[in-house]
């Protein structure tokens, strides 16, 4: 069974469109994340959700909106797509433990190409 899954795996779309990426984890974790990996392979955290509440938003444009219907799902909706949004987006999850840095489990990634 896949621990963290994302759909779609590839997404090609035109500038100005709105798109969503879905993420699901079956690990029972209470924290989920979205990361963006650009062409230079830098991994930057975008959002973190703990028990359906946003706890981190690393200065991401408000065109990006995470939605967490429940603990197991964290979807990423992107409005008015721009060329610079082209990247690989990774979903991850972890079990938050007090004072201890968590082990994150990453999904396979969604490669978004904006033309």
């Amino acid at each position: 069974d896949t621990a963290v899954s994302q759909t779609p795996k590839y997404l090609v779309t035109q500038m100005g469109n709105d798109k969503s990426i879905k993420c699901e984890q079956n690990l029972g974790h209470d924290t989920m994340y979205w990361y963006k990996q650009d062409s230079k392979k830098f991994l930057k955290i975008m959002f973190s959700y703990n028990n359906k509440e946003l706890i981190i938003n690393e200065t991401v444009p408000n065109r990006f909106s995470p939605k967490s219907p429940d603990k197991a799902h964290l979807n990423l909706h992107i409005n008015s797509l721009e060329l610079g949004d082209s990247a690989v987006y990774f979903c991850a999850s972890s079990q938050e433990r007090t004072q201890i840095l968590y082990e994150q489990y990453f999904g396979p990634g969604t490669r978004l190409t904006v033309t």
């Binding site: 924290t31 955290i45 004072q99 201890i100």
Partner: protein, 112 residues
């Protein structure tokens, strides 16, 4: 948050021990050090985590000096399948939740 610095790339041969060092001069008391491995077209995978001294698991060892301003990931007897990008990650619990910063990663290429 502590920023990390790693070598951009390293080459090695099968069977050798590989040591990758990460600098994190501004590491905070709350911060732990974690290393991830990433293969092409896959998400990062957890390797090892530590706070101080030495940690060892079935795949790697992590050495952290007393001042914690750097850490070294040690991969014993690497094989071709260890060719990947290795990320050093520093972070911990802060007000509002956990925060982390991934380093730029070290591309390890293992040759036969």
């Amino acid at each position: 948050l502590a920023k990390t610095t790693q070598p951009i790339s390293m080459d090695s041969y099968e069977g050798q021990e590989v040591n990758i060092t990460c600098s994190h001069n501004n590491i905070a008391t709350n911060d732990y050090i974690t290393w991830y491995q990433q293969f092409p077209s896959q998400g990062p995978r957890f390797i090892i985590q530590g706070y101080k001294t030495k940690v060892t698991n079935e795949v790697a060892s992590l050495f952290i000096p007393a001042d914690r301003k750097s850490s070294t990931l040690s991969l014993p007897r690497v094989s071709l399948s260890d060719t990947a990008v290795y990320y050093c990650l520093v972070g911990g619990s802060y007000t509002g939740g956990f925060k982390t910063i991934f380093g730029a990663g070290t591309r390890l290429f293992v040759k036969a």
